[in-house]
C-alpha cells in the first residue's frame, strides 16, 4: 500500500513537472510563427536570409519554416485536410492563385484588406489582386506572379524573315512555312499542354481570351457557348489535325515534356511558363541564345493574353498569432523582399514599380522583359467552385482535342454542367448569409 502511494506521488509529481515544462515551452512559442511553404527551386538561401532579416527587425520573434512538396495538388490536399479540422499548426502559408476564393469562402483565411491599403494596391498587378479578392475583401497578398509565355526560335524566325507572331494566323503561317522549309522530321511547329489536367485549362484560357472570349463573365454567367470559345477550341484542334503544326502527342503533354522537346531543338513555338527560360540558357540546352519570348497570339485588335499563375501569402484564420503573422506577410510582400527573391531565385514580383528598379534590370533582364506579358494576364474563373469547373472543362476539352466529341456538343454539355455547379454555390451562399 505504501509503495503504491509512493508510486502515485511520484507519478503526480512527474506530471506537474511535465506540465510546467510545457507551459514555459508555450511562453516561448508565443513569439514563434510557423511559415508553411512549398519547396521553391533554388530558394533555400533566399528564404533563410529573409527570415533572418525579419527576426532582426522584430527582436524576440522567431519564424519556423515548414516545407511541403512542390506538387500543387499535394499542397491543396494538405491545406484542405488540416484547415478543415481547424488546425492552428501554421500561421502564414502560400496558396496558389486559384485557391483564394475557395479557401476564403470556407472561412480559412484571415481578412487582409487592411494590410494593403487602397492607395498601395495600385502598385500591384491588377489580375492577381482580383483573384485574391472575394466578396469585396482581400484574403491573400500576391507574392509572385506567373504567366503563360510564347517562346519562339529566334534563329528560325530570322532565317525566314519573320517577326514574332501577333495573331493566330501569323503563328500558323510561320510554323507551316518553317516546317516546310526545314524538312526536318523531328521538328514540330507549336507545342502546348494538352493532357487532361490543369495545364490544359491554362492553355485554353489564353487562347479563349485571345479570341475575345471568357469562360465565366463578370456577372458570373457561363459563356462557353459563345462563338469566341468555339473558335478558340476549333483553332487548338486545327493546330493538330488541319494545320498539322502541333504533333498529336500534345494530347498527353505537360509542361516538362514540352519544355524538353523545345530544349532539344525540336520545336519552333512553345507555350509554357517563365521558369523554362533558365533551362534554355543552360549549357546543355541546344537552343541556348536562340530563344525569344512573346505574348500569346490573339485576334487582330485584341491584346495577347496570358493565363495568370503565381503564389499568394495568406494568414490562417485559426492562427493564435494573427498580428505577428500579418506583420510577416507585410514583410514578405514588401518591395525589398520581393526584389531580393526576384534577383536570387527568379520569381516575378507582383509590384509593378520594381520592374523599373535598376538592380532588377541589371541582374534579371529577362524578368523585366516579361513585363508586357505579366501586365496582360487573365485569371482562370475566380470562384470558390473553380476546382469543379476545372474538372468539367478538363474532361470536355480533352474529349474535343482527342477527337472523341465534336466541339459544339462538348461545350454545350460543359456549359450545362458548370451552370449546375454554380447553382450550388448560390444555394450555399444564401444559406451561409442567412
Amino acid at each position: 500500500m505504501q509503495l503504491l502511494l509512493i508510486v502515485a506521488f511520484v507519478f503526480i509529481f512527474a506530471c506537474t513537472v511535465e506540465k510546467n515544462a510545457s507551459e514555459t515551452q508555450q511562453a516561448q512559442n508565443d513569439s514563434t510563427i510557423v511559415f508553411k511553404h512549398f519547396k521553391l527551386a533554388n530558394a533555400r538561401h533566399a528564404f533563410q536570409q529573409a527570415i533572418l532579416q525579419f527576426e532582426k527587425q522584430n527582436p524576440g520573434v522567431k519564424v519556423k519554416e515548414e516545407i511541403l512538396p512542390s506538387n500543387s495538388n499535394i499542397q491543396h490536399q494538405f491545406y484542405v485536410t488540416s484547415l478543415e479540422s481547424g488546425s492552428a499548426d501554421f500561421d502564414v502559408f502560400l496558396i496558389d492563385v486559384i485557391w483564394a476564393p475557395e479557401f476564403s469562402l470556407a472561412g480559412w483565411l484571415e481578412d487582409l484588406s487592411a494590410l494593403i491599403p487602397e492607395e498601395e494596391r495600385i502598385q500591384f498587378f491588377s489580375a492577381p489582386l482580383r483573384a485574391d479578392m472575394y466578396q469585396g475583401k482581400l484574403y491573400a497578398v500576391p507574392w509572385y506572379i506567373d504567366a503563360g509565355v510564347l517562346y519562339y526560335r529566334k534563329d528560325l524566325l530570322q532565317k525566314y524573315g519573320f517577326s514574332p507572331p501577333v495573331s493566330f494566323d501569323d503563328l500558323v503561317h510561320q510554323a507551316q512555312t518553317i516546317l516546310n522549309g526545314e524538312q526536318n522530321p523531328t521538328l514540330n511547329g507549336f507545342l502546348w499542354q494538352g493532357k487532361q489536367y490543369e495545364g490544359l485549362i491554362c492553355t485554353a484560357n489564353e487562347v479563349i481570351s485571345g479570341f475575345g472570349g471568357k469562360i465565366l463573365d463578370e456577372n458570373g454567367r457561363v459563356r462557353l457557348t459563345d462563338n469566341a470559345v468555339r473558335s478558340a477550341l476549333n483553332w487548338l484542334k486545327d493546330c493538330i489535325y488541319t494545320h498539322r503544326i502541333s504533333p498529336r502527342w500534345v494530347l498527353s503533354a505537360d509542361e516538362e515534356s514540352t519544355r524538353l522537346s523545345f530544349l532539344n531543338g525540336n520545336a519552333v513555338f512553345l507555350r509554357n511558363w517563365p521558369y523554362c527560360w533558365t533551362f534554355f540558357q543552360r549549357e546543355e540546352s541546344k537552343v541556348r541564345g536562340m530563344v525569344g519570348t512573346a505574348p500569346m497570339p490573339a485576334l487582330p485588335g485584341i491584346n495577347g493574353k496570358s493565363t495568370l499563375g503565381g503564389w499568394q501569402l495568406a494568414v490562417n484564420r485559426f492562427s493564435q498569432k494573427k498580428e505577428l503573422a500579418k506583420r510577416f506577410v507585410r514583410f514578405m510582400a514588401s518591395p525589398e523582399v520581393q526584389l531580393q527573391f526576384a534577383i536570387q531565385v527568379g520569381t516575378k514580383p507582383t509590384r509593378k514599380p520594381l520592374y523599373e528598379d535598376p538592380r532588377l534590370i541589371k541582374e534579371q533582364p529577362f524578368i523585366v522583359q516579361l513585363f508586357p506579358i505579366l501586365k496582360n494576364t487573365v485569371p482562370r474563373p475566380v470562384t470558390p467552385l473553380y476546382p469543379q469547373i476545372s474538372q468539367i472543362l478538363q474532361i470536355e476539352f480533352s474529349a474535343i482535342l482527342s477527337n472523341i466529341r465534336a466541339v459544339e456538343p462538348a461545350l454545350e454539355s460543359a456549359q450545362i454542367q458548370i451552370e449546375h455547379v454554380l447553382e450550388i454555390e448560390k444555394l450555399a451562399f444564401d444559406k451561409k448569409s442567412k
Binding site: V80, L105, W249, A253, Q388, I395, A399, R405, F429, K431
Partner: protein
C-alpha cells in the same frame, strides 16, 4: 477464468483494429450519407441520396466500366504470366538465382517511380517503345500511347502487368514448392509427358494458391490509383479514369467529402462482393480436395 483473461490480452489488439480499420470504415459509411462540402459550410444528413445520384452519374458509370475493363484484362494476364515465371523458376537452369532477383525488381520499384518510367517509355518523341517498334518496321509513325483514346488503357494495363506479375510469380512459386517431387517422378515412370504433368499434377495442386493470388490482384486492380493518376491523370477525355481516381478527385480536388465517400463506399461493396465470390469458390475447392 481462462477465457476471461484471454479477452484482456486480446483487448489492445482489438482496440487498435477498431481504431485503424473499423472506425474509418464506419466513418466513411456515415460520410457517404451526408452532403458535406466544407467550403460552403454544408454538412447535412441526406440518407441514401448520394447513392441514388451515383446510379445516375455518367462519370461514375464510366469509371466503373473502366475499372472493370482494367481488372478483367490485367488480372488474368498477370496470373498467366506469373504462372509461367513460377514454372520457369522451378526449373534448375543456370542463373536461376539471378533470374529470381531480376524478376522481383519491378515489384520492388515504387509505383509512382515505375509510372514515371513508363510515361517515358511511351513518350511519342523520345520514348523507347516507339523507337523499337519503328526500328523493326512494325510502325511507320510514332504512336502517342498515352494520348490516343484507343491505346491509353492497353498501355496502362501493360505497365501494371509488368509491375505486378512478379508478385503473382512469387506466390505461385511458393505454392509449387509444396508439391512433392515423388509425384512427378512416378508420373514420369508412368510415361506422362510435360503437359500431362502440368495439367494433372501441378495445376490442380496449386489451384487454391492461384485463386488466392487472384483475390489479391483483383482487389488491388479494382483500387488502381497511383499508376493511372501519374501516367494520364484519367485522360484523354476521361477514358482512363478509374473509380479510385474519381473518388480522389471528388475528395481532394473538389472537396465533396460526402459524395466522394459514397463513391468509395460503393467501391468497398463491389470489392467485398467479388471477394465473396472468390472465397466461396475457394471454399468449395478446398472441400473437394480434402
Amino acid at each position: 477464468m481462462k477465457s476471461k483473461s484471454i479477452i484482456y490480452f486480446l483487448l489492445p489488439a482489438l482496440l487498435l483494429t477498431f481504431l485503424v480499420t473499423v472506425f474509418p470504415l464506419l466513418y466513411g459509411f456515415a460520410l457517404g450519407m451526408m452532403r458535406k462540402m466544407p467550403v460552403f459550410g454544408i454538412s447535412e444528413f441526406i440518407g441514401l441520396d448520394n447513392f441514388i445520384f451515383l446510379l445516375r452519374d455518367p462519370r461514375f458509370q464510366q469509371s466503373l466500366w473502366t475499372t472493370l475493363k482494367f481488372t478483367l484484362i490485367s488480372v488474368p494476364l498477370e496470373l498467366l504470366l506469373g504462372l509461367g515465371f513460377a514454372l520457369l523458376l522451378r526449373e534448375k537452369i543456370p542463373g536461376n538465382a539471378l533470374l529470381k532477383i531480376t524478376l522481383m525488381i519491378p515489384w520492388a520499384i515504387p509505383t509512382v517511380v515505375s509510372a514515371k518510367m513508363w510515361e517515358w517509355i511511351y513518350n511519342p518523341e523520345y520514348g523507347v517503345l516507339n523507337y523499337l517498334l519503328q526500328s523493326v518496321n512494325l510502325l511507320n509513325e510514332s504512336v502517342n500511347w498515352l494520348g490516343h483514346p484507343l491505346w491509353t488503357l492497353p498501355a496502362i494495363i501493360l505497365a501494371d502487368v509488368w509491375k505486378t506479375a512478379p508478385f503473382a510469380a512469387l506466390l505461385i512459386y511458393a505454392g509449387l514448392q509444396t508439391i512433392p517431387e515423388e509425384l512427378y517422378e512416378s508420373a514420369k515412370i508412368d510415361g506422362a509427358g510435360a503437359f500431362c504433368r502440368l495439367f494433372y499434377i501441378t495445376l490442380p495442386l496449386i489451384y487454391p494458391i492461384i485463386l488466392i493470388v487472384g483475390i489479391f490482384r483483383t482487389m488491388d486492380a479494382f483500387r488502381i490509383f497511383d499508376l493511372i493518376y501519374v501516367m494520364t491523370g484519367g485522360g484523354p477525355a476521361n477514358i482512363s479514369e478509374t473509380m479510385s481516381v474519381y473518388a480522389y478527385k471528388l475528395l481532394f480536388q473538389t472537396l465533396q467529402f460526402g459524395y466522394g465517400s459514397a463513391v468509395s463506399v460503393a467501391m468497398f461493396w463491389i470489392i467485398a462482393l467479388l471477394s465473396g465470390v472468390y472465397v466461396y469458390v475457394l471454399h468449395r475447392k478446398f472441400k473437394v480436395l480434402s
